[in-house]
Symmetry: C2
């Protein structure tokens, strides 16, 4: 059982009401890989980094069963960098800096040894790169999960609409579901989004848990209430990294139309 994980491997600078750090390893594929490695082996990573990305991080990932054949290392260039500041409720944040660096010219290549993977996790990235990876696979994985964000809805909606028709599960947060559908009610939003292609829609609500929509059913998963939340960066990616496993189970669900 293997999973291909596509996404960024990056450096972040993060400020929350409880702390601040100028440089820490981040990126959607990094978080996905760490989470997925608990459930599926191997995790077959596709990403791009500069020569500044730490060797120790690569070694740590390898030790957890993450294959890095598909991670391109570009000499003398910098890794993708993102900087953000969280509001007091930790559910909303402002992006301060986005330096694409190596990501600007990323053209992901699926290594031959990755062919035949059962799961594909398309981490948050340009939709056209997500499409490219799907197209390179000779055999369609049995489950394709897509993560995306408001930025791509604003800047690459046409590509996003194309990839939505190619996937099984879409993962977005409540604000993004409202933006993508133009509906405030999440139930109405889900109906519209399911018509755009995905068979399953997972709407993440941070500390309030997540809703899974499928046909006219809804399943609710609570979030474990924590005493302290220090930094939610990568929480969505980490959740996504574990989604392949739970989505492939028969989830207990109950009908929206016939609640009982």
């Amino acid at each position: 059982m293997s999973v291909i994980a596509l996404g960024t491997m990056a450096f972040d600078a993060i400020e929350t009401p409880f702390g601040k750090i100028d440089k820490i390893v981040g990126g959607s594929a990094t978080y996905v890989a760490y989470a997925a490695s608990h459930l599926v082996k191997p995790v077959q990573q596709i990403s791009i980094v500069g020569s500044d990305f730490p060797e120790e991080e690569m070694d740590e990932l390898k030790s957890r069963g993450v294959q890095l054949t598909g991670v391109e290392i570009v000499p003398d260039q910098k890794s993708f960098f993102w900087s953000g500041k969280y509001h007091l409720d930790m559910n909303t944040r402002d992006t301060l800096v986005t330096d694409l660096n190596v990501l600007a010219n990323f053209d992901p290549k699926v290594p031959e040894e990755y062919q035949g993977a059962e799961f594909l996790m398309l981490g948050n990235l340009m939709p056209k790169l997500q499409i490219s990876v799907i197209k390179q696979l000779k055999k369609r994985p049995k489950l394709i999960v897509l993560d995306t964000m408001n930025f791509w809805m604003e800047s690459a909606l046409d590509d996003l609409k194309v990839v939505l028709k190619m996937i099984d599960v879409l993962l977005i947060n409540d604000g993004e579901a409202r933006q993508l559908s133009g509906e405030f009610s999440l139930v109405k939003a889900a109906k519209k989004i399911l018509e755009m292609g995905p068979k399953y829609l997972i709407i993440k609500k941070g500390e309030h848990g997540a809703l899974l929509f499928h046909e006219n059913h809804v399943f609710f998963a609570p979030a474990l209430p924590l005493e302290d939340v220090f930094d939610p960066t990568g929480a969505g990616d980490t959740f996504a990294g574990a989604t392949k496993k739970s989505s492939s189970l028969q989830l207990t669900s109950y009908s929206l139309l016939n609640p009982s």
Copy 2:
């Protein structure tokens, strides 16, 4: 099996992003009674109204098994009136008008026939009136549930602290839990509030469901996602009205300290 319900019976004027009404029957005890009547009979109401409160509403309540012996009708005076306006997310609202009217001189009396009730639901009202009703009961009910709000935390905190020591279950929303405890984390807030007296704390999170805290356990109940939310007024009271029943069951719960 009987439940005593204390609270307001009132008129509301409500404005939401989806509609507006100048006068509609409301009040914490009204909503509690309608909800509780589905689960427990009789509901033994304690409240106060003016001569303007509709006879038909009283008849409707009676037809559902609600006893009104404890509802004082004050001739030539007006019922309590509340007016509020909801924000777009329907989770927050501003109070526009509060006319106490008959409520200003409310001195609740427990009718003799109400003595021996198994449950006591103290709907949102001045804490000193909630205390008065508890003290009038010759035999302590097996479960006392208290609803309150931010207004009493600001204006009658000393009385509120007294009544908190006399009850079993406290029902408040997330904002009120933060205000009462001075803690932003709901887990930390719950710990502090449980030390104030209640054995169980239910934190209501509107569309995001509710958390029940007891000792070091937490139980989560999701809210059914709705296509349309027209007016959430009384939702908390209605939830409270059904709480006595579910709280007296052995709830499946899982440990915060040992999640598995």
